[in-house]
Symmetry: C2
């Protein structure tokens, strides 16, 4: 919290300097701040202030700040820039940040930027064209081409002088990639290892040829699993011919992991995933992302209504109706507990689709233990609490108790199995979460409940 306060005070100072038009002092102050903190201040400012601050920043810092800004603010800034200003932003921006930025811009901005690039840096424009062709959320779309590669025959001294010459940012120089004349990846060597070696040592002898790598078309979820498993700082990305074309660095993976988790949270709550943050989404965007699933699930709710209609005699027994919310609620909750554990286990690679027998057997036993406890508890409770109702309280208690056991077992098995089945047929398991499971359990639980009631009460 202390830290937050300190930054808030700085923001106050910036605002004062802006109001007093003390641009020189402002520039000095901004140059001492972290790019992320400047981007937050700009996000909270008016458009005019924002452009002013941006122009005060040194060219290099401006590019770093730009990469941190949200798409809509980047959009608004770029719209107000001259061609020369655009060229100057692009000069300093890393290629992967440029691609990230272009992917979020409307077509006319992309055109404008690419036109500037064609004039000033045609080779970059070509690279960008290639990047924009990689599938969304693939390794190709998140990788960077700024890395250091050397030949096997280099000495340690050659390698260090190459690092100095190309001078990239910190994440990308700590692993050096060894490639042959056809750009085929042959090994990696860490900067740390170079530091411990003698100047004349040959890279080919120092390098580690036990490689971990991925391909441009691999999904980013697979990439982040590799980082997690092996504790990587960076990962080389190859094309189909095994040529090194880029690397993914760990700082981008931290974002990928949060993005993938957010997507799972959204899908598991019957929301269509959205790239925008909550506060930035318009009311209509939010409504649209929620409406489709609500309608689908409501349609199932209507179907349940139709099925219930068949139990006309049981439906009008008031003492049966009062237990409906408890049975559907418990079914939904029990099912979503199981499905959440299985969905999460699969996302983290702890459960694979061949484990279905283990999951089934485990859920069955868990469900029986829980179902019997809940059922027995309710049997006793109902016999005592509802002793004065019209129907035989023991019969009602029995119907509720046996329905609870059945519903919990059905819930745990549906919740455990549906995500695994989804994975098998290549549907995202995260969709088989609470909302869908609850709806299915509403139907299954209530049909059993009213069916049992019709039977036991002889309706």
């Amino acid at each position: 919290m202390n830290e937050d306060l300190r930054i808030r005070e700085k923001y106050e100072e910036i605002r004062n300097l802006l109001n007093e038009k003390e641009y020189r002092a402002l520039r000095g102050m901004l140059n001492d701040m972290l790019p992320y903190d400047i981007s937050v201040f700009m996000s909270e400012s008016q458009a005019k202030e924002r452009a002013l601050i941006y122009r005060i920043l040194s060219k290099e810092l401006a590019a770093e700040v730009f990469a941190y800004l949200d798409g809509d603010i980047q959009h608004q800034l770029i719209s107000s820039f001259s061609e020369a200003e655009i060229a100057s932003v692009l000069d300093e921006l890393f290629l992967d940040d440029t691609v990230d930025f272009l992917e979020e811009m409307p077509a006319y901005i992309v055109d404008k930027v690419l036109k500037v690039l064609s004039k000033t840096r045609p080779e970059t424009r070509q690279m960008i064209n290639m990047f924009l062709k990689y599938p969304f959320d693939s390794a190709g779309s998140i990788m960077t081409i700024e890395y250091v590669s050397v030949n096997q025959n280099y000495t340690v001294e050659d390698a260090i002088s190459k690092i100095r010459r190309v001078g990239l940012n910190k994440e990308t120089v700590y692993t050096i990639y060894v490639t042959n004349e056809n750009r085929i990846l042959e090994g990696v060597v860490s900067l740390r290892k170079l530091l411990f070696a003698n100047n004349g040592d040959i890279i080919g002898h120092l390098m580690d040829s036990n490689l971990i790598y991925a391909y441009t078309n691999d999904d980013q979820e697979k990439i982040s699993a590799l980082f997690r498993k092996y504790g990587l700082l960076s990962l080389p990305i190859l094309d189909k011919e095994n040529r090194l074309v880029g690397i993914v660095t760990v700082d981008d993976i931290v974002d990928v992991i949060e993005e993938e988790n957010t997507e799972d949270f959204e899908k598991m709550a019957a929301l269509r995933p959205s790239e925008k943050t909550y506060l930035k989404s318009s009311v209509w965007d939010l409504a649209k992302n929620r409406l489709l699933w609500l309608l689908v699930l409501m349609a199932s709710g209507m179907l349940i209504g139709l099925i219930l209609g068949a139990f006309e005699k049981a439906l009008v027994v008031g003492s049966l109706v009062v237990f409906m919310p408890m049975i559907t609620g418990t079914g939904g909750n029990a099912g979503s507990q199981a499905s959440t554990l299985v969905i999460r286990g699969m996302a983290l690679g702890e459960i694979s689709s061949k484990d279905y027998a283990k999951v089934l057997w485990k859920e069955l036993r868990v469900a029986l233990s829980i179902g019997i406890i809940l059922g027995a508890f309710n049997f006793v409770r109902i016999v005592i609490q509802y002793r004065n109702i019209e129907q035989d309280p023991v019969k009602i208690a029995f119907i509720v108790a046996i329905s609870l056991v059945f519903t919990v077992v059905a819930a745990k098995i549906t919740g455990g199995m549906l995500p695994m089945l989804a994975k098998k047929i290549k549907v995202d398991p995260a969709l088989m979460a609470a909302p869908l499971i609850s709806t299915i359990l509403d139907a299954v639980g209530l049909v059993f409940y009213f069916g049992m009631a019709t039977l036991v009460l002889g309706l």
Copy 2:
């Protein structure tokens, strides 16, 4: 997939070499493998094979593999080790890995290990005692003390020779920490910067004194937010007197992020968070973690039953009962959509508790748009589909439609506000998710529904 196959083939080979007792060839092969891959093979092996493989590994590799193993396998291995063997594992293990391992062991193993340490490395034993005192999930409990620190007056050459001398692992030498004689942190300098500097340059002039840091007692969630925001590779951790006591590295943060997300997923599904993976948890562990919340939520379900009992005349109208699942289901789903977005937004720092008015206003408008669409749709459907029922279909359709609008609005507002309220009163917002929201909405929605029915139908 290709990659997986390649590893599977290697595992086949290891198994063959083990069966044929070709230990020399096996040792050669294992030395070329990645520690993580060896740990997976060991996890899938029998206890006897496991101990055999472990003893074949070189001392350094053995320690790396050990750090990757799950707690139960570490436990089983350590139990079978002599004191000399334990000492040899501890010799090579990084301090943070030793602490992670001890935190998962039963008391008698901890005692055994600490006894060995007292004899062989008393100073390490002291450090461990300090680490074990940091709160669970605090920066102190995840940090490592293996880092390089230098004095302001060092030259670049001095610094590089110190790095070479202490020779730590790759994540921990890429940022060098500058401290004064009282161990107060004064700046940081990246290894990359040293590489670009001249041997005689003074660290004090090169260092960046615009520091990002945290304290030993800070929660790991706060730490991972700092990594995400600033794209860090490592973060210095200070004690209360601002002395540098350790660093957290990004590879550990990747694990922390997944851990925190798993905890949120579990809480949001009414599960008590568990450290064990699904397949490793016993049936009784799983049942225990689910039972408490199911009981609490069922108790609310019982309460709803009691309240419904008050509407005795409305309860026995069959054409009202058939719409109950649709109303409760839609309420629960609409509420959990809102709560998921707000919980996730707060976890990622995109929504803060002072945004409650914005959230309220947004949810109100979203809810009205959705509620009116769903309500209108159902009004028309019911009038047509249920035209032959006993009651006036227009009245029934009106009751259902208005209840849907009310339930959706109540759901969105409850779902949006409860997590923010929870944060305010220092309860984890993740608890205000689908299960609790659905239960509340069951009550609110049905009371409105049957109340409205009593009124409109004049029951």
